[in-house]
């Protein structure tokens, strides 16, 4: 983000809003919600691929924020701290659901038919310059959950593999391997979409 101070409302900086929210000021908290809701919700939506779940998780993340904001000490940027909190809320939810999304162990990897295809010996049109972001969003949405989470955390949200490994309880190598499979799968999906569009015109 910028070095300039962020405002949660005219005359109220984010830092001031945080201090006030830490003292229990509900209006300041509302301001923080307004400033960060879009990013938190987008994260939840991209990780779950489900609007209703994403809304519930956004709600839970901000409830936890209200409960925990007094523990924020400013050691990292507030947005980073909140983001991490939101990621943990989503991962906890997925663990509770008992879905394979949270486990990256090899035994719980997505089925082979969901996986990327090998590309040995076949040359076709390259993607470079041809992806539009609407299609990319769609392709991400249709990734198998195990791939999608790693891709969202690493390539969109900018987490490092060691951070992902820690959050997900897997090895760094596993995180790298899943990311690679996710990108390969995305490439397949985007090429398919490109071919379908070309066939329509």
């Amino acid at each position: 983000m910028t070095q300039a101070k962020k405002l949660v409302a005219p005359g109220l900086s984010e830092a001031e809003a945080i201090q006030r929210a830490q003292r229990g000021d509900a209006e300041a908290f509302e301001g923080l919600y307004g400033l960060h809701k879009r990013r938190v919700y987008s994260l939840c939506l991209r990780m779950t691929g489900n609007t209703a779940e994403a809304e519930d998780l956004t709600q839970e993340a901000f409830l936890q924020l209200y409960r925990k904001i007094a523990t924020f000490r400013g050691e990292s940027a507030f947005s980073t701290w909140l983001h991490r909190l939101a990621v943990n809320v989503v991962l906890m939810h997925l663990r509770k659901k008992g879905l394979p999304e949270v486990s990256l162990e090899e035994t719980l990897e997505p089925q082979q038919e969901d996986g990327p295809k090998k590309d040995i010996g076949a040359r076709d049109n390259v993607l470079a310059g041809s992806i539009d972001r609407v299609n990319l969003e769609r392709a991400i949405e249709s990734l198998p959950p195990g791939y999608r989470i790693i891709f969202v955390l690493h390539d969109i949200e900018g987490y490092e593999h060691n951070e992902i490994a820690e959050m997900m309880g897997c090895s760094i190598g596993n995180s790298k391997s899943q990311l690679h499979k996710a990108r390969m799968k995305l490439r397949d999906l985007l090429k398919l979409s490109k071919a379908e569009k070309a066939a329509r015109h």
Partner: protein, 211 residues
């Protein structure tokens, strides 16, 4: 080195940690070279994705209810009821302003594209991309806004410029999808969201210096 061996090490190669032998194969094999280029391109494009969706009002209502039920909201600052906030709910106002501005821009765009002779094949006549020279191209209004920002707060100009390009690029992408398939509701929603973001960008830039 053959393609199978090369592709086994793709994650390291994509990260730029390939060996000299792998690099050499990548430079001479068109299939593997395309693959590496595509995967890097996907990773680059993903970094440019912006948060595009707002949660529904149901979320904030749920937060208010839960905090009230848990007794976490202090009675003395019971401003979770937006109607009692002196001076109004600023975020509500922003949201409404943003929605109105977005609608105005979208309406302008719709009128422009429905003018006889100005069909969907003329993207350069749109409000968002009159320059028509690339997805993130800026029109005269954008340039004017950036000039104002540069004068008022030069340190923020670059951020605004980047954000403006991003949002224009989003608009162009969504319009492209919609042009290809006018019944694509998802693309339409993306387009509206993108215009909303652009309106908010204008709002932020014109609401005065942020100290």
């Amino acid at each position: 080195m053959n393609c199978a061996e090369f592709q086994k090490s793709l994650p390291e190669i994509i990260d730029g940690a390939g060996t000299a032998e792998q690099d050499a194969h990548g430079q001479t094999c068109p299939v593997c070279s395309d693959l590496v280029r595509d995967l890097r391109y996907i990773a680059e494009q993903a970094k440019l994705l912006m948060p595009m969706h707002d949660p529904s009002p149901r979320v904030w209502a749920g937060i208010q209810t839960s905090l009230a039920q848990e007794g976490l909201v202090r009675p003395s600052v019971g401003r979770f009821q937006p109607t009692v906030i002196p001076g109004g709910n600023r975020f509500g106002t922003y949201a409404r302003w943003g929605a109105v501005a977005a609608l105005a821009i979208v309406a302008f765009w719709l009128i422009g594209t429905r003018t006889p002779g100005a069909g969907p094949e003329q993207p350069s006549t749109t409000a968002s991309d009159t320059a028509g020279s690339g997805a993130g191209a800026m029109d005269a209004n954008d340039q004017k806004l950036l000039a104002v920002v540069s004068q008022q707060a030069p340190e923020r100009a670059e951020v605004y410029k980047r954000s403006m390009r991003d949002v224009n690029s989003y608009i162009a992408d969504a319009r492209k999808s919609l042009d290809q398939d006018p019944s694509d509701d998802e693309a339409r929603e993306h387009l509206l969201q993108a215009y909303d973001q652009k309106a908010m960008l204008y709002d932020m830039a014109t609401s005065g210096p942020r100290e």
